[in-house]
């Protein structure tokens, strides 16, 4: 206690440690940006920064919904195959029933899947890892059954307002970026500024205590899965509209990249902590690492090696600061 009372120098070891622990990921982000900016002239150009955020927007949009799930103390591994399903659905229906109806049907379908997740995990209290693992497989099968294993595409690509979501610009900024950042701001406001947001934190932090304080945690868990399904639907809009076609497995592996972004931001897998801002930073770090390494001339897959190290180091920093020692004591 005495330590905290004593006036400490702003750059004392204790303060630096605290800063590193609370803002470590932000500092890492800045270090990465400076490093890449020094190594490549083009890295910090407006064009390049915009294109990185644009590419990261699909993973980023999904990660916003998944952050709610993870803060609530659960996992969602089904978002990758849900993205495949939603993209195939919206692209395939576009020519059959028109864009408006296609989008509405797609959102109804993903929300239905999300509510199955939410029912099994929220109301039946089944383990989220296994349930969403099972759903990953089931939805992948469903996608293949729907499409008959064929790729789908939109015939008249130049002549549909559906192109707006993936290819459009508003005020000179690409629409995917606006959707990503707009959803992020909205989600952060909900999470930090509303009773709903506080309840999400409390069911993830201490589920039993939350139940005793009158929070209907079954409904809460259910709602977080609706949110991750909704943002996955938004990502499918961007992806389908950008490509104007879709393969059956287009979202394969996305669940883990999304989770990597969420974890990198410092949202704990145990639930109860984290934020949308952190997730956005986590997703952007992954995007900038990819882009920076490419600009520096490394092979494409080198980014995955760096991602490996960055994920573990970021979480280690977080765990170590909470534990008070760098290594475990056993």
């Amino acid at each position: 206690m005495a330590n905290e009372m004593a006036p400490t120098h702003p750059f004392s070891a204790a303060n630096l440690k605290k800063l590193l622990a609370s803002q470590g990921i932000m500092l890492a982000f800045i270090v990465f940006m400076i490093g890449f900016a020094l190594a490549s002239d083009r890295f910090l150009s407006a064009d390049n920064v915009m294109s990185v955020i644009r590419q990261a927007s699909i993973i980023g949009v999904i990660a916003i919904g998944v952050t709610f799930v993870v803060i609530g103390g659960n996992l969602d591994l089904s978002v990758g195959s849900m993205l495949s399903f939603a993209t195939v659905l919206v692209v395939d229906l576009h020519d059959k029933v028109g864009p408006t109806a296609a989008i509405i049907i797609m959102f109804i379908a993903v929300l239905a899947i999300g509510s199955i997740n939410g029912f099994l995990i929220g109301f039946l209290r089944l383990n989220s890892l296994i349930v969403t693992l099972g759903m990953l497989s089931a939805i992948q099968g469903l996608t293949l059954i729907y499409s008959g294993g064929q790729n789908v595409d939109i015939a008249n690509q130049g002549d549909t307002w559906f192109a707006f979501f993936g290819r459009g610009f508003l005020f000179g900024i690409a629409v995917p970026i606006l959707m990503f950042l707009g959803l992020a701001v909205l989600a952060e406001l909900v999470l930090k500024g509303t009773a709903y947001g506080r309840k999400v934190y409390s069911i993830g932090g201490n589920s039993t205590a939350a139940a005793f304080s009158g929070i209907r945690r079954r409904q809460m868990v259910f709602s977080t899965y609706l949110l991750s399904a909704f943002t996955t639907g938004c990502a499918a809009l961007i992806l389908g509209s950008r490509v104007m076609g879709s393969q059956n497995n287009v979202g394969q592996g996305y669940e883990l990249l999304v989770l990597a972004g969420v974890i990198l931001g410092g949202t704990s897998l145990l639930g109860g902590s984290g934020s949308i801002t952190r997730t956005v930073i986590g997703v952007l770090i992954l995007g900038f690492i990819q882009n920076g390494l490419l600009l520096m001339g490394y092979p494409y897959y080198a980014q995955w090696l760096v991602t490996w190290a960055v994920i573990i180091l970021a979480v280690w920093l977080d765990v170590a600061s909470k534990r008070g020692s760098i290594f475990t004591r056993y």
Binding site: L77, L120, L124, R125, L126, N127, L129, I130, V131, L133, G134, M135, L136, S137, A138, I139, Q140, G141, L142, L144, I145, G149, T208, A211, F212, R216, R217, R218, Q252, G253, L256, L257, L259, A260, I263, L269, P299, Y300, Y301, A302, Q303, W304, L305, T307, W308, A309, I311, I312, V315, W316, V319, A320, R323, F327, T328, Y330
Partner: protein, 314 residues
């Protein structure tokens, strides 16, 4: 005795039911050659699942097995022209063990959750595979390599034999050795295990090395079947493996599970795939059915264990 096993291992009931149903409905199902086929088809997932059982009983998880499989296969096929087959296979197995050790030491020393550590490794090791192979498939120029994959020991295909032998060995280690017993203890209650003087960290590292070894072995056997390796081999295998292990009754929280159960889980997946294939059900439906079964088993397990762990119901 049989009744006790069936009650303790409900997945074997499911396996028997599948055997019965497919024997009655599919023409060429009840056939020794088909059973040998099923064993070969399941051996890849099966080998990894044996190791995954240890890691999960231990309270951890390994998501990097699919990538390790691809790396081992690429090394074994890619290096055999330069080093000869035996040395290339040794290097591949060594890589699997080394990556397992790396995962284990990181989990032990940093205290970062195994899910995160191996999620990172899954991405990173896949990157290693692509960097090493230059995104190319490798083909085994020496036919002895692919002949091995097609060979038999007596009536039993060699690959099936390797899987069954590994199953017996792993069962023995889990049931009859100090390491096996401590694996349960650490997964059941890590604090208590520490207080009892069990060296928690080294046991975890050994288990990650075991699953690394078996994933590498699975990569080698798979590449002998194909006579080649591709950089995308083993995609999603971590998911299938975990599915098999959980079907076999191993708890995600650790401390409970068995090799016999895992064998049941692996066979359940294999028989289902094979039988539905013979019935000409499109493979798409198998994915849906597998997912549904996994969730159903989880639900039944929850109902059965509800009495023992009564929790607050709000």
């Amino acid at each position: 005795m049989i009744k006790r096993i069936l009650l303790a291992q409900p997945i074997w009931l499911f396996v028997l039911a599948c055997l019965l149903i497919f024997s009655l409905s599919a023409d060429h199902f009840f056939d020794l050659r088909n059973f040998a086929n099923i064993l070969i088809q399941t051996s890849t997932i099966g080998l990894i699942a044996l190791g995954m059982t240890f890691v999960m009983i231990n309270g951890n998880i390994d998501l990097s097995v699919g990538a390790v499989l691809a790396l081992a296969a690429s090394l074994a096929v890619g290096l055999q022209d330069a080093l000869g087959i035996p040395l290339a296979v040794l290097v591949a197995l060594g890589a699997g063990v080394a990556l397992g050790a790396l995962n284990g030491v990181i989990v032990w020393k940093t205290g970062v959750d195994a899910f995160i550590v191996t999620l990172g490794a899954m991405i990173g090791v896949r990157g290693l595979v692509f960097v090493y192979t230059g995104e190319q498939s490798f083909y085994a120029s020496n036919f002895a390599y692919s002949d091995f994959g097609a060979s038999s020991i007596g009536p039993i295909p060699t690959l099936a034999f390797i899987f069954l032998a590994a199953t017996l060995i792993m069962h023995f280690i889990l049931r009859n050795t100090i390491h096996g017993r401590n694996t349960y203890a650490v997964g059941g209650n890590r604090e208590a295990a520490l207080n009892a003087g069990i060296r928690v960290g080294p046991h975890m590292v050994i288990n990650f090395m075991i699953v690394g070894f078996l994933a590498a072995l699975a990569g080698i056997t798979m590449s002998t079947q194909m006579g080649a390796s591709t950089p995308n081999m083993g995609r999603d295998f971590e998911l299938w493996t975990i599915t098999a292990v959980v079907l076999g009754g191993t708890r995600l929280t650790g401390g409970a599970g068995s090799i016999i159960g895992t064998l049941g889980g692996v066979l359940a997946i294999g028989i289902l795939r094979n039988g539905m294939n013979l019935l000409q059900v499109p493979s798409f439906y198998v994915l849906v059915i597998m997912g549904t079964i996994l969730i159903t088993v989880l639900f039944i397990d929850k109902q059965l264990s509800r009495n023992s762990t009564e929790e607050l119901n709000v």
